[in-house]
């Protein structure tokens, strides 16, 4: 029985879920994990869409009171930042996924606002050469 409400940020998507906090560990039931993050716990491991990731030491990751969030992140090789006090956790993109994308040489698409708040995507400019310049006031 989950005793806390936890905020999960997954690839920019924010959702609230029930979780059990025990010591410095955060546990979600398999049902809550699937509802929040889209990953289903199957006999072979965690599956989402057409992808499955094997879990070698199932007992270490999935036990009472549920799936250990840190263990789940480790199985997916994804970075996890948690603030227990604030009840917020952020699941980031793995170095492997970022590297695979960049090494493919397909420029990652993105959508961001301009000064007027109008959203623009890199892919809006497909068909043109683009010089992407990252800068800052600092």
């Amino acid at each position: 029985m989950a005793n806390e409400t936890f905020t999960l940020i997954d690839d920019g998507r924010i959702c609230e879920t029930g979780a059990t906090v025990s010591g410095d560990r955060v546990y979600l039931t398999p049902a809550a994990l699937q509802a929040a993050l889209g990953w289903e716990l199957k006999p072979q491991g965690f599956c989402k869409d057409d992808r499955c990731v094997l879990v070698h030491d199932r007992a270490a990751v999935c036990n009472d009171p549920g799936v250990d969030l840190a263990g789940f992140a480790a199985v997916l090789s994804r970075p996890l930042a948690i603030d227990l006090e604030e009840r917020v956790a952020c699941l980031g993109t793995s170095a492997a996924d970022r590297s695979t994308q960049l090494a493919s040489l397909d420029a990652p698409d993105f959508t961001l606002p301009d000064l007027n708040g109008t959203m623009q995507a890199l892919s809006d400019y497909r068909g043109k050469k683009v010089l992407l310049v990252a800068y800052a006031s600092w």
């Binding site: 970075p79 996890l80 956790a89 952020c90 170095a95 970022r98 000064l115 010089l131 990252a134």
Partner: protein
């Protein structure tokens, strides 16, 4: 050209954007999404993307003019000339193998630093300032030479990005051997 400001809000780069009166998109990336996607660790960084959406030239330091040449030692002309040759004449700067060889790909520790930064940013946006500070600091510890994380979070943390905290970061960076991008050889035509 698409410019992306790795600034905490539109107001920080607004004076510069309005002074430039650009006809190109000037976008605001307060959550450093583009920094994460492209493994950008300092500014200015330029990436060339061709008509098919392919990376033609990977992350590199390049300046639009020589205003700060004395500070960083880089001439703006070689890159600008190579850019012109690419745009006007279709001259490719590198082949795909060279592009891949020159890419610096992110490490798990860098990605964890980015994730701590994202968490810090969420907490900051939701008014949990003290907690946000903790995670901005943690992000900086995980990626000590990533200027976008460590220097980029100084305004949010109430620190002067041109002040003593930056001076300390800069010293560490110099002592570490100035880890940065390798420079991309530019064919002089």
């Amino acid at each position: 050209m698409i410019t992306v400001a790795l600034d905490r809000c539109a107001d920080d780069p607004r004076p510069f954007i309005e002074a430039a009166a650009p006809t190109h998109p000037s976008l605001i990336d307060s959550e450093h999404l583009v920094a994460d996607l492209y493994r950008i660790i300092n500014v200015p960084t330029v990436v060339w993307i061709d008509e098919r959406g392919r990376i033609a030239r990977p992350n590199d330091v390049a300046f639009g003019n020589d205003t700060f040449k004395d500070l960083h030692g880089m001439e703006s002309a070689p890159h600008l000339n190579a850019l012109r040759r690419w745009v006007m004449e279709g001259q490719m700067p590198l082949d795909e193998q060279q592009v891949r060889a020159l890419q610096v790909l992110p490490t798990p520790e860098e990605q964890l630093g980015r994730t701590e930064f994202s968490l810090a940013w969420y907490l900051h946006r939701n008014g949990r300032t003290a907690a946000a500070q903790r995670h901005f600091v943690r992000a900086g510890e995980l990626a000590p030479h990533d200027f976008t994380i460590r220097r980029g979070s100084m305004p949010i943390r109430g620190l002067d990005p041109m002040g003593p905290d930056f001076a300390e970061m800069y010293m560490e960076w110099v002592q570490a051997g100035r880890p940065y991008y390798r420079s991309i050889p530019i064919k002089i035509v």
